[in-house]
């Protein structure tokens, strides 16, 4: 049996994702697309699915499908972020004001596209995402500790032990944090 899914299997697998899987994909898309100019969360999901359909990204047979999609979104977002940050144009500079100051009869051929979609929220989410999260939990010491643990990739029982909490305390804090993170939404 092939190591990766065929295109027909990719379609069947994506169609077979549960409602909860799809919601997780949407949540992660909002986080990964934070601050990207060229990809909205929906665009990001679409690009990840498309890459799996075209075969640009493989779909390992033994991997959990929702995880494959999340990884694909992460890669697509990273590529897009690199392109936006390292490209010749800094897309994060709002050039609306610049465009307005140009003379009307200027026929120099310069085309300026106002980046009006660069909202402060998007900028904060990408470039200072961690600062935004720290702000989000500034009033709750437990959540600050939990964020610190997650930044070290420690979760679940291991995190509870690390933080010297019992698992119930961990679960309660986790629920609070997930709810708060959901308040940072992509406009």
């Amino acid at each position: 049996m092939e190591k990766n899914l065929s295109l027909a299997e990719v379609e069947a697998t994506l169609c077979g994702l549960s409602a909860a899987d799809w919601k997780i994909i949407k949540i992660m898309a909002r986080k990964y697309a934070g601050g990207l100019i060229h990809l909205s969360p929906d665009d990001l999901i679409s690009e990840a699915y498309t890459a799996l359909f075209t075969g640009d990204r493989v779909f390992p047979r033994d991997a959990r499908p929702v995880k494959v999609v999340i990884n694909a979104m992460h890669s697509e977002a990273s590529n897009c972020r690199e392109h936006e940050v390292d490209g010749a144009i800094d897309h994060h500079i709002d050039v609306t004001t610049l465009a307005q100051t140009m003379d009307d009869d200027d026929d120099g051929g310069l085309v300026v596209i106002p980046s009006t979609n660069v909202t402060p929220e998007r900028d904060v989410e990408s470039r200072q995402m961690m600062s935004a999260i720290h702000l989000l939990v500034a009033d709750d010491q437990e959540l600050q500790d939990l964020v610190a643990a997650w930044c070290l990739e420690i979760r679940g029982q291991e995190a509870a032990d690390f933080l010297e909490w019992d698992i119930k305390q961990y679960e309660a804090a986790r629920k609070r944090l997930v709810r708060r993170l959901d308040t940072i939404k992509q406009e």
Partner: protein, 132 residues
Amino acid sequence: MSHPKQTQERDAFLKTFAEELLAMPDSEILDGDDPAALRKENMTMVAKAKATAGRRRLAAGRSGFVASQSLARSAQDVSVAMARAAIETAMNDDQYTLAARSLGEMSDEDILRLYHQLERLKAKKDAPDGNQ
């Protein structure tokens, strides 16, 4: 530009966040949302992505076809005299090594065949990852 440490921290946080979400029971993830509506959204996205992938594959296929067609056409359109002149030029070019053979002894067919080979070599060399 993102500071590398910030990026690492963000990636680690998001990775752990995703793992937490994946470990949560469906009821907690759904949190009262309508599963049927969510599934419908996913199906719509699958259909959209499938169509996009099809269009991209078609476009890639067409551009490959157009490129090879244009190469073939340019090679076909050349006259024997022009092909002979191009080969003579190539013989003086250090980038190509042609067997020492008098062009005058070659048939028109051989001249055109050699010219086509030369064109293919040039096209390969000019490709972004082409080698000499």
